[in-house]
């Protein structure tokens, strides 16, 4: 056996010494009130019935399709889709009119990282729910905090619309694109 193969074997052997999987799962479960947005399902898709209160951006950005849409649903939630960072301003105006503590912001390469920003620690808020290219938001967001909708500048990157949990006001005006986050050094 070559020395390189001994090294490979040694690493494989040592990997078997992993431990603490259950502890990690327990920590993730305990953190759910803070970070449970991904697992939600608090808003059943079938319960969303549009009431006709729809505000949609016009074809300012070409193609004839709306660059954004803000729709109030019968259950009080609001469904948002934003297809272009240029639509962030008008979309935010509509969100403010609906009284939601939600702010759409662009993801940029030079924005400070959100890490360390004050995240809400309680569980008395309803997580957003993403369906396709839209995100449905509950008005139940704690006072003094804002849920951020992250709009990607780059095409063909998933839905192009992400969201955060409630972050302490004043809400930032941008989010650091993970692809440009030095903390993670994601390759471009």
């Amino acid at each position: 056996m070559t020395e390189e193969n001994v090294l490979r074997d040694s690493l494989a052997l040592h990997a078997e010494r992993r431990q603490g999987g259950q502890e990690v799962l327990a920590a993730l479960k305990n953190a759910e009130p803070v970070r449970g947005r991904g697992r939600t399902g608090l808003i059943a898709a079938g319960a969303l019935v549009a009431t006709g209160v729809v505000v949609a951006g016009s074809a300012l950005w070409g193609g004839g399709s709306a660059a954004y849409a803000v729709t109030r649903n019968a259950d009080g939630t609001v469904t948002v889709s934003i297809e272009d960072v240029a639509a962030i301003g008008p979309a935010n105006e509509e969100l403010r009119e609906f009284g939601l503590r939600v702010k759409a912001v662009p993801m940029t390469a030079d924005c400070p990282s959100l890490s360390g920003a004050g995240s809400y620690r309680g569980s008395d808020w309803v997580a957003p729910n993403r369906t396709g290219n839209s995100v449905t938001l509950s008005p139940r967001i704690p006072e003094g905090y804002t849920v951020l909708l992250a709009v990607s500048r780059h095409p063909n990157r998933g839905s192009g619309l992400g969201y955060t949990g409630p972050v302490k006001d004043p809400a930032p005006s941008c989010l650091l694109d993970p692809a440009d986050d030095p903390e993670y050094r994601t390759p471009r």
């Binding site: 020395e3 040592h14 078997e16 992993r18 502890e23 890490s115 990157r157 993670y184 050094r185 390759p187």
Partner: protein
């Protein structure tokens, strides 16, 4: 993919990777836990923007390992010494049936962190120079140097001409 599904699928491979990276299984658990808690918080953003959430989180683990050791050097040293003591001295006599793989692990444990990360990515994850460079945030030439230096410390003769050339250049540079 929902975060719960990701964890169910990737927790064990991440723990294995972190264990060989950190050497200390306790530290590896802490690193993975810290990363997953952060990933859970940012999951919608990660899935919306990262081409491969799995690769993305693995990079997070690598960088957490590198920064964790910088932040908690005292703790890390203590943990490594404890683990080394459990394994026995690095120069243990083979006639005492000291497994050569344990000997290799003991030597691997004292490598500088970036060298160790490069070797783990090469020999455990099977990454090429470009992939390692992407994870470590450096150039492929730097990766070759890290791997060569690490192998030299481990007293391993690589069968890759690129590694040998890199080591020669490094030595000539001094």
């Amino acid at each position: 993919m929902e975060f719960d599904d990701f964890v169910a699928d990737r927790l064990d491979p991440l723990l294995r990777y972190a264990t060989v990276l950190c050497y200390d299984p306790h530290l590896a658990k802490d690193v993975v836990q810290e990363v997953l808690l952060r990933a859970q918080q940012q999951w919608p953003r990660i899935t919306a923007t990262a081409d491969s959430p799995s690769a993305y989180v693995k990079r997070m683990v690598t960088n957490e390992f590198l920064s964790w050791r910088r932040r908690a050097a005292n703790r890390e040293v203590g943990a490594s010494l404890r683990t080394l003591d459990e394994l026995g001295p690095p120069t243990a006599d083979r006639t005492r049936h000291y497994d050569e793989r344990e000997d290799m692990l003991a030597r691997l444990a004292v490598l500088p962190r970036r060298q160790r990360a490069a070797l783990v990515l090469r020999y455990y994850e099977g990454c090429d120079d470009a992939e390692i460079a992407a994870v470590l945030g450096c150039r492929p030439g730097t990766v070759r140097s890290l791997v060569s230096r690490g192998l030299a410390t481990l007293r391993i003769r690589s069968h890759s001409p690129a590694d040998e050339n890199s080591l020669s250049l490094t030595k000539e540079g001094h």
